[in-house]
């Protein structure tokens, strides 16, 4: 996943949070009540709109529905012409569990995603706090270092990073996946924007009470930044869960690494067991869909503000 920071003032209106609310605003069509010709035209436009959107939603959703439908088909029925199979079977799941150690892989993936997202959240919170609370020598240059890092593609740095990991003896370990990902320039920039909009009165009050910057961070800033931190944490978790390329370089034995590599392992077989592959893919995606189902609005809001892709 590539992370892209969307500057709120260039692309999404003057401030961050109102964007998500703004979407719900009724469209500015200038509908004048009691003007029949305009209304008829807009009904036609609404029908066209629904048609276009249904087609696009079908393009995006049908493949995913097909993934889960296929995973419940009997293995010998995968390529039959009937689009909807009448028989239901769990044998793809049992053969997926037999082919790769799904439990171990999921456990590793949870560890990596939690460690990476928590680590990124903490290092970014501290850095963003430094940028928005203090004015210090080299501030501009240091901020430039954060922005600039985001223009260095992963592929340009992968060879030296691979060499360093092998020197440190971290190849074939979860630590080797986690450690290089512990700081995220994207998260720093996003949190800095939130902190810059933080109510100044609260910080002033803490200073009058004689709190130092460290205790202000944990007793005043963090409790009031809860929703933003949660939304960012979810984004970082999802992108780390889906991360594929760095684990691929770190692990030689892919069958005991993370779930994404386990799935790819199916494709290396001579004849691909598509049924088991769809079952494993479905299992690997289910936690993310579950998070989305529960936290849809918050996640969408966070994606809008970040432009994460």
């Amino acid at each position: 996943m590539t992370l892209v920071l969307l500057q709120p003032d260039t692309a999404a209106g003057p401030a961050g949070p109102p964007v998500a609310l703004g979407i719900r605003r009724p469209p500015g069509r200038g509908v004048i009540p009691g003007e029949p010709s305009f209304q008829r035209r807009s009904r036609l436009a609404a029908v066209t709109g629904h048609l276009v959107l249904i087609l696009l939603a079908a393009f995006t959703v049908l493949p995913l529905a097909w993934l889960y439908l296929t995973s419940f088909r009997p293995p010998d029925d995968l390529f039959s012409d009937g689009l909807i199979s009448t028989s239901f079977s769990l044998s793809n799941y049992s053969s997926a569990l037999r082919s790769i150690p799904v439990g171990v892989l999921l456990e590793h993936t949870v560890i990596v995603a939690l460690a990476v997202s928590a680590g990124q959240l903490i290092t970014s919170l501290l850095a963003a706090y430094a940028f928005s609370r203090f004015r210090f020598r080299g501030r501009g240059v240091l901020f430039g270092i954060f922005i600039g890092s985001w223009l260095v593609p992963f592929q340009v740095t992968m060879l030296p990073n691979f060499v360093l990991l092998s020197r440190l003896g971290l190849l074939n370990s979860l630590a080797g996946i986690i450690i290089p990902q512990l700081s995220s320039a994207f998260a720093v920039l996003l949190l800095r924007q939130h902190l810059n909009g933080f109510p100044r009165e609260l910080l002033d009050a803490a200073r009058v009470e004689g709190q130092n910057s460290w205790s202000t961070l944990w007793t005043v800033v963090v409790p009031n930044l809860g929703p933003a931190l949660a939304a960012l944490g979810i984004l970082l978790f999802v992108s780390s869960w889906n991360e594929y390329f760095w684990p691929l370089l770190v692990y030689r034995n892919i069958s005991y690494s993370v779930i994404q590599l386990g799935i790819q392992g199916f494709l290396n077989a001579v004849t691909i067991n598509y049924g088991a592959l769809m079952a494993a893919s479905g299992l690997a995606t289910l936690p993310i869909f579950a998070i989305y189902a529960v936290l849809q609005r918050r996640m969408v809001g966070a994606f809008v503000r970040s432009g994460l892709r």
């Binding site: 969307l6 260039t10 703004g22 500015g28 807009s42 959107l53 954060f146 030296p160 691909i272 809008v304």
Partner: protein, 318 residues
């Protein structure tokens, strides 16, 4: 807008107050921002800037990635060798195809969706948006394996559906002329949700008063779109255009690796996959690093041009 809390100078009043900060405390206060920055900065220096410098260094050596084998200094010969490789220029062309394709999925199609979605009630609009967003959450590996299954040459869903319309079967991922378009379509499928989201946010940020006023003055919908919506949307569109250009290679990379490994006959290899193959398949570290340096500089120049474009062609509603 910056929140400024640290007092710059001690005020004269403070000097008369007997409470004094000890020198230790004061130096800790001056160090504080650097201490807060340290963990994130150390990570960037160690895992982004150090390897970037090392990549420049490696590009002047011949080395096969084995710790035991010697590194030979060869000067500029890796760069000379690189410029004579026909595969490099093929990869540059393929990169162009990917960028163009992702501009369609990352800017063109979302604009169309954003415009027609304005005619639909807000409630159903957000329902459609939630559905179009789903593939964004799917990992590149799952997206790739799923589409490999859908595009399977005999009995795959895509060929079955095309068969209903009397279209011939195609082995999409194994033919040089279709493989890269299949990869564009799959990346577009994954990308569309975010682009639509960013674009609807941009549309929602435009005050409806402008188009209402124009409609009262008798402007047609096409005129309102052309003269009001499009100019006010230009910063969003430029932003989406730039991300499509700069990050297309990052988006297609895992799909290439899972689906085609750059084939058939190198047809789907883009510049970064090219350098990955030289680094981790042929173990020609020098050549891969020289390629990395060239692509890094090329995309850096492209980023500067894009930043200039963003500045030059965006119309702001002040």
């Amino acid at each position: 807008m910056l929140v400024e809390i640290q007092p710059r100078e001690p005020s004269p009043v403070a000097l008369s107050v007997p409470v004094r900060r000890t020198p230790v405390r004061r130096s800790a206060g001056r160090l504080a921002p650097y201490l807060y920055l340290f963990p994130a900065l150390a990570g960037l220096v160690l895992w982004v800037y150090r390897p970037l410098a090392e990549t420049f260094d490696y590009s002047f050596y011949n080395w096969d990635l084995l710790p035991t084998s010697p590194r030979l200094a060869v000067g500029w010969s890796n760069y000379k060798q690189l410029s004579h490789l026909p595969a490099l220029w093929q990869a540059v062309g393929t990169t162009g195809v990917y960028i163009a394709g992702l501009i369609v999925f990352g800017v063109g199609l979302p604009l169309l969706i954003g415009v027609v979605a304005q005619n639909v009630s807000p409630r159903s609009r957000s329902a459609y948006r939630a559905l179009i967003f789903l593939p964004v959450l799917v990992s590149p590996v799952v997206a790739a394996t799923l589409w490999e299954f859908l595009l399977a040459p005999s009995g795959g869903l895509v060929d079955t559906v095309l068969g209903w319309f009397g279209l011939a079967q195609t082995n999409w991922l194994q033919q040089p002329d279709t493989a890269k378009y299949a990869i564009v379509a799959i990346s577009g499928w994954k990308l569309l949700g975010v682009s639509v989201l960013v674009l609807t946010a941009g549309l929602a940020a435009i005050s409806p008063e402008y188009s209402e006023a124009a409609a009262i003055d008798g402007a047609s919908r096409a005129q309102v779109f052309r003269r009001i919506t499009l100019p006010l949307l230009s910063p969003t569109l430029m932003f989406m255009f730039i991300t499509a250009v700069l990050f297309s290679s990052q988006i297609v990379f895992p799909l290439i690796n899972v689906l085609t490994q750059g084939g058939p006959q190198g047809a789907s290899t883009d510049v970064y996959y090219f350098l990955y193959q030289y680094g981790f398949t042929s173990f020609n570290v020098g050549l891969a690093s020289a390629a990395a340096v060239c692509f890094f500089i090329a995309f850096g120049v492209l980023a500067l041009i894009c930043a200039w474009l963003l500045d030059r062609f965006s119309f702001y509603d002040n």
